[in-house]
């Protein structure tokens, strides 16, 4: 066969022109677009997967990972139907949504317990107080607190090695807010990584290491890491479903949300999807997170059906919200 240039270029050009000139018909298939937090992603992914299987391909669900902030940007530009968020919506984001005329409902879907972990060979730090954590992580600790006995004289004189998520992560925001009292206020001389697996490896391989990340990463590496029980004045409490549900794992448990656009919520497939989310809490625990109690899901569904708009948090970061409080707040909507 002899390939001449005309034979190659002409069809290519024709195809290219056709492509640009092709009229854009609206997609006939029902579709739900979700974007946002990487923490919430595994939950949404599980729901999207099962929902599509149940619908036998009649509904398309896409899930993106832009981070909580990036997800809200897209959401408030009207590009997505739902925003995944590992924290409540902030004032600036509420303003952006208001300007674009986008109204939304706030749906809590799960709890996450930020877990402080140490190496299994660490025999001294089985539990720590919030004050000790602050001493370790506050901005003033930079370059000064470098060995364990400086945190608590009972601890050995061993080098302190810290691992934590990078500054772009919602986990970092929440931990600094809860422990240091101000979001993003942290010492800077620790090993930071956006990839939580790096943090897991760091703590796994250093006897004197301490790190923190979401519960799911601890749950997947339980055999190689020890979770530190947190003492916030009422005795040490370990991160677990029970302790998060009864509100004693304080202040490191946080609710995770999905924000649903009001106009999207009127579409039957979106309604069905939200209902599916609020009635299949077992998928949450399957991907390593902590589901809300049944009553909380029922209440959230009731609010959704009644079309209650807006956030109950007023756009300000809050720490240590328990499930009871969340329910009470939801009740006050």
């Amino acid at each position: 066969m002899k390939l001449s240039w005309q034979q190659i270029t002409l069809p290519a050009l024709a195809l290219g022109l056709l492509a640009f000139g092709a009229p854009g018909r609206a997609d006939a298939q029902a579709a739900i677009k979700i974007d946002g937090s990487s923490t919430v992603f595994p939950i949404s992914e599980a729901y999207a997967e099962e929902f599509q299987i149940q619908k036998r391909g009649k509904v398309r669900v896409t899930v993106g990972v832009s981070g909580t902030g990036g997800g809200f940007k897209k959401f408030c530009r009207g590009e997505t139907d739902m925003a995944n968020a590992s924290r409540p919506i902030l004032v600036a984001e509420m303003e952006a949504c208001r300007k674009a005329g986008i109204k939304y409902m706030e749906v809590p879907v799960a709890f996450d317990a930020l877990t402080v972990v140490v190496n299994p060979a660490n025999t001294w730090a089985k539990s720590m107080t919030v004050a000790e954590l602050r001493k370790m992580w506050e901005p003033a600790a930079q370059g000064r607190i470098t060995s364990w006995n400086q945190v608590n004289p009972k601890f050995p004189k061993e080098k302190l090695m810290l691992f934590g998520p990078g500054a772009d992560s919602g986990t970092f925001d929440y931990f600094t807010e809860a422990v240091n009292g101000k979001s993003k206020a942290s010492r800077g001389d620790f090993t930071a990584s956006e990839d939580d697996n790096t943090l897991v490896q760091g703590v796994e391989s250093n006897k004197n290491a301490l790190g923190y990340f979401g519960y799911a990463y601890y749950a997947a590496h339980k055999d190689k890491l020890t979770a530190v029980a947190i003492d916030n004045g009422k005795g040490p409490v370990s991160p677990s479903l029970e302790n998060v549900t009864n509100g004693t794992y304080d202040p490191l448990s946080r609710p995770l949300f999905v924000y649903v656009r009001e106009t999207s919520a009127k579409r039957p497939e979106v309604r069905e999807f939200v209902q599916f989310m609020l009635t299949n809490g077992q998928l949450v625990s399957e991907v390593g997170y902590l589901p809300l109690p049944k009553s909380a899901y029922e209440l959230a569904w009731k609010h959704f059906q009644n079309g209650k708009l807006g956030t109950v948090f007023g756009g300000h970061p809050q720490v240590g919200i328990t499930i009871d409080q969340l329910q009470a707040m939801e009740g006050k909507l």
Binding site: W5, A19, D27, S38, F41, E45, A48, E49, D195, D196
Partner: protein, 308 residues
């Protein structure tokens, strides 16, 4: 030492220089082997880690929260479609630009500026292309977060590679061929079309494939324009059963791609996903190697046909 070399001195000098020559061959071979060895090691490591996941299911299943159920169907289909758009756009534009610069453009400051810019574009970080495409294709032209946007972005990215590669290929055609054709009264376009292009096809296609091999692994620009992490459906088929038998809905479809899928799996807590990531990475590497193999085959075929 005397001014005139004796025969013995000449011989020993020659032997020394020949030994140097051999030593260079050995050093060069060692460096080459260690580079290839590293690549082979990486590839084998990926294959070993992902060994349990290779199979038909892995290629025909959608991503899933369960590692053993997860596959790369939407990822490799997405990557293939993006590559198709990239090739269809970058090839005509790149080749036309190269022909103009090489055969038509007068040598003045203007073409000088263009040439410097083309070379510079090849060194621009890919994220910059992503940001440009986000503003231009996704929002300004309204293509959205689609296969079309991704394909056009990567086409821009590899355009300099294709232009440079094509120009090299055109330059390799002997001047005598052009002059002979001009001598017989051919116009410039006829010379280009009938003589220069056929002889340089192998080089041009090689440039294209090299460009595509770079584009296939790009992550940053397609994340910027909005590649999604979880898609469990395929874009509409480009071929339909009814008239006009082709449709372009797939260009407007949301997409995911191999590098995105790998990145997503690597950053998950469940260790079983690391195997999926290794298997997917090995397949991506395999796709790149296959493309390069095709480039070599094409070059061989076209070179065989040339008889000057």
């Amino acid at each position: 030492m005397s001014a005139v070399l004796t025969i013995e001195e000449l011989r020993s000098g020659l032997a020394w220089r020949k030994n140097l020559d051999k030593a260079f061959v050995v050093v060069g071979l060692l460096i080459l082997m260690s580079c290839l060895g590293l690549l082979a090691l990486l590839f084998l490591d990926l294959v070993r880690d992902g060994a349990s996941r290779f199979g038909w299911d892995f290629l025909t299943q959608f991503p899933s929260r369960k590692a053993e159920r997860a596959g790369i169907l939407s990822a490799w289909v997405g990557t293939s479609m993006i590559m198709l758009v990239t090739a269809l756009v970058a090839l005509p534009v790149g080749v036309a630009a190269a022909i103009y610069l090489e055969e038509y453009a007068p040598k003045n400051w203007f073409t000088g500026v263009i040439e410097i810019n083309v070379t510079n574009l090849a060194g621009v970080p890919s994220i910059v292309y992503g940001l440009l495409a986000l503003g231009l294709f996704v929002y300004k032209f309204g293509f959205g977060q689609s296969v079309l946007s991704a394909g056009l972005t990567l086409a821009l990215l590899i355009l300099p590679i294709i232009i440079v590669g094509t120009r090299e290929a055109l330059r390799a055609v002997p001047k005598a061929i052009r002059e002979a054709a001009y001598g017989l009264g051919a116009t410039r376009w006829e010379v280009t079309k009938d003589h220069v292009l056929p002889y340089s096809t192998g080089g041009i296609l090689t440039g294209l494939i090299l460009g595509l091999s770079r584009a296939i692994g790009e992550t940053a620009p397609i994340i910027t324009i909005g590649a999604l992490s979880f898609i469990a459906f395929l874009p509409n088929s480009p071929i339909s059963g009814t008239f006009p038998f082709v449709n372009f809905e797939w260009l407007k479809s949301e997409f995911t791609a191999m590098p995105i899928q790998i990145f997503n799996w690597v950053s998950r807590p469940d260790q079983a996903f690391q195997q999926n990531a290794a298997a997917a990475a090995a397949i991506l590497l395999g796709m790149t190697l296959a493309m390069n193999a095709i480039a070599i085959w094409i070059r061989y075929r076209f070179r065989k046909k040339i008889n000057w």
